[in-house]
């Protein structure tokens, strides 16, 4: 049974080219890049060059604006805590209801520490309420924190426009963007976006787990989260993780090379999967707006059935996807993102997120389209809501 991996928003496979560039640093090139002898030169230059690649990847103005971290969560925590610590007189934060838990849970902690946090809502397409955002910004707002693309729906938020709104209301307010789900899927240009801080994570674009990046523009001061040595210009202590830094830089290079493929071919396969499902399965619906999304993601709700069971049956055929259902995660509530969008409760528990990558083959999409109707039929037959399903079938013919 071949594996069909359609859960690339959870993590991605390490590109073989990435692994290749990492290996020497596990073997002969084990030097600490801070050491002064000749043997350390290669490690030192690798970190330096990698920083340059990431600078280009994000179109930062200067390499000094790039910090290497251990993951997306560390990037977010460093950015948020770092900015707030530097602006202690300001106690107000604005974020969204649909952020990733790594950010949301931090804001809930900050609320307990006395910060006031406003959570901006979204409409049923998953689009942010910009008027609400504009209204919320005041003299006390230290930070606005909004993701670039949503991990569950793929919806892209208008970061450039939001930057303008923020600067027009309060020039001192800093803007952090969690771009973990955008990196590798759409081009990122921090200068054009006008953001102050932006975080990404390597394992979402074919680098390994355990490495991330935080962009901090030169006008933004932060305190370090990890205090210790002078690494990363004092903003993130800890000996540089040379193999992983080399890895994320290689992954960024590959992502830049394949950006066009991502925006055309990956998108075509995603659209094929999506329209094939909607066409052939009467109790399915697209949970998001279909414009303004990253090219690899779709979120489809299957009505009157439950997502975990769909995933278990898919898994029996080697197909990997994920669900916004409560049962999958062990939490008892369905996805906070889909709830914020008011996805009807008939569909929310049966929501499946499909996320492709540039390694996804058309034959794999064809196979999913071939087997999925049978799986959904089988599960639908178990449902106690047969009358409702019959109505739906009549309606959608």
């Amino acid at each position: 049974m071949d594996l069909i991996y359609l859960d690339n928003n959870a993590t991605t496979k390490v590109a073989p080219e990435v692994l290749e560039v990492m290996l020497p640093y596990f073997k002969e090139e084990y030097a600490n890049p801070s050491s002064i002898y000749e043997f350390a030169k290669k490690a030192n230059h690798t970190v330096r060059d990698s920083r340059g690649v990431i600078k280009d990847f994000l179109n930062a103005a200067n390499e000094k604006e790039i910090l290497f971290t251990s993951c997306g969560s560390e990037s977010a925590n460093t950015a948020i805590r770092g900015v707030l610590n530097m602006n202690k007189n300001k106690r107000h934060i604005i974020t969204t209801k649909v952020e990733h838990p790594c950010v949301l849970n931090l804001y809930q902690t900050l609320e307990k520490e006395g910060y006031k946090v406003d959570y901006i809502g979204v409409n049923s397409n998953g689009e942010l309420d910009l008027a609400q955002l504009e209204e919320a910004i005041n003299y006390d707002t230290a930070l606005v924190s909004i993701m670039y693309a949503n991990n569950e729906t793929g919806v892209i938020y208008p970061i450039e426009k939001i930057s303008e709104i923020i600067k027009s209301k309060n020039k001192e307010t800093k803007f952090f963007v969690d771009a973990v789900q955008a990196a590798g899927k759409i081009p990122i240009d921090v200068q054009a976006l006008g953001v102050d801080l932006l975080g990404i994570s390597g394992h979402k674009f074919h680098a390994p787990k355990g490495v991330g990046v935080l962009y901090v523009n030169s006008k933004t001061l932060i305190t370090p989260l990890i205090i210790g040595g002078h690494q990363e210009r004092g903003k993130r202590a800890g000996t540089e993780n040379v193999p992983y830094i080399a890895g994320i830089a290689k992954a960024a290079e590959l992502a830049m090379d394949s950006m066009n493929y991502e925006l055309t071919e990956v998108k075509r396969l995603r659209d094929k999967l999506e329209s094939g499902i909607i066409k052939n399965i009467f109790n399915s619906r697209i949970n998001t707006s279909i414009s303004n999304r990253v090219p690899n993601t779709t979120n489809i709700g299957f009505e009157y059935i439950e997502g975990e069971l769909i995933l278990l049956h898919l898994s029996d055929l080697g197909i990997c996807a994920s669900s916004g259902s409560a049962c999958t995660s062990g939490s008892l509530e369905p996805s906070h993102v889909l709830r914020a969008m008011n996805v009807p409760f008939t569909a929310i528990h049966g929501s499946i997120r499909w996320s492709l990558s540039r390694y996804t083959k058309e034959s794999e999409i064809d196979y999913v389209l071939k087997v999925l109707p049978g799986i959904i039929d089988k599960i639908t037959a178990l449902s106690p809501y047969q009358d409702e399903l019959a109505n739906l079938k009549r309606l959608r013919g």
């Binding site: 059935i305 069971l309 278990l312 409560a326 049962c327 409760f345 449902s383 106690p384």
Partner: protein, 279 residues
């Protein structure tokens, strides 16, 4: 990723007894679409035996497996036997469930209980209920009643709010009812503790307690009717008493003795007490 047992996987892959029974003798429901899982169970009952059972489930793998195995467990059993099935039996039959998934077995138990309650020929299940509180919603997010929480605590020996959430979902969303759940746990164990205490009374303590109950609770009631009672002796669980006043010679004295004196002492001191009248 859940560590489901082979049995769970077998049952969600090949669920048994799926569907609906037309003209079912009993139908039970639990859960709801909003809450993310729901179950409908249909029973055919003849001469006190469950002759057929079918189910329809909206839910995850373990919910389907719990429903499916439940139908297998009850077909061919007498209603009396079926009444004794607990959520733990369902989970055990499946070779166990992950802790966070225990609520699926509880949903099976709940639907079964609902079906039996709706079964006309069954006089009532009040005797199963009488030690519990009135039907009261504790968790409004998932519509979980106090009775269900009480059952889950009792059947599974749950000790913490987190365990109650795993078994019943109560407290799993907004969390506002966590305090209430803690109260129910405390009440349950306080009650169990006091029952345990009574069972381990020393003979002297027991005599004192019986005497006190007779004086404070039983005697005053009898006096209202112009009678009275005296404690003569205690021999193990045998309580020898003498009825006086109007009670002595009353033709209902035997009823008074058994239905009131004995049951009061059994309830408050020891369920094995026998009350014997001496002349």
């Amino acid at each position: 990723m859940w560590d489901y047992s082979e049995k769970v996987m077998d049952h969600y892959r090949n669920p048994r007894n799926v569907g609906k029974i037309d003209n079912a003798d009993a139908i039970g429901e639990a859960g709801s679409l909003t809450c993310g899982d729901s179950l409908k169970i249909y029973l055919k009952i003849k001469d006190g035996i469950v002759t057929d059972a079918k189910f329809q489930t909206f839910g995850c793998g373990s919910a389907v497996a719990s429903s499916s195995i439940l139908t297998e467990m009850i077909i061919g059993k007498s209603v009396e036997e079926v009444k004794k099935i607990t959520n733990k039996d369902i989970a055990d039959q499946l070779g166990g469930l992950p802790p966070e998934k225990m609520h699926c077995s509880v949903m099976g138990y709940e639907a079964l209980e609902d079906a039996l309650k709706n079964f006309d020929d069954l006089t009532d299940l009040d005797d199963l209920r009488n030690e519990k509180k009135e039907e009261k919603i504790v968790c409004t997010c998932f519509n979980v009643t106090e009775n269900l929480i009480w059952d889950a605590i009792k059947q599974n020996g749950l000790k913490t709010v987190e365990e109650v959430t795993n078994y019943t979902k109560a407290g799993g969303a907004c969390g506002k009812c966590k305090g209430l759940i803690q109260d129910i746990i405390d009440t349950y164990y306080k009650k169990e503790e006091s029952q345990k205490e009574e069972n381990t009374l020393s003979p002297a303590q027991k005599i004192l307690k019986i005497n006190k109950i007779i004086e404070s609770q039983i005697s005053p009631e009898l006096q209202k009717d112009g009678g009275d009672i005296t404690l003569v002796d205690i021999d193990g669980n045998k309580v020898l008493v003498k009825l006086r006043g109007k009670c002595s010679g009353c033709k209902n004295s035997h009823l008074t003795l058994k239905a009131f004196v004995e049951s009061t002492l059994r309830e408050t001191v020891d369920k094995n007490i026998d009350v014997i009248e001496v002349a």
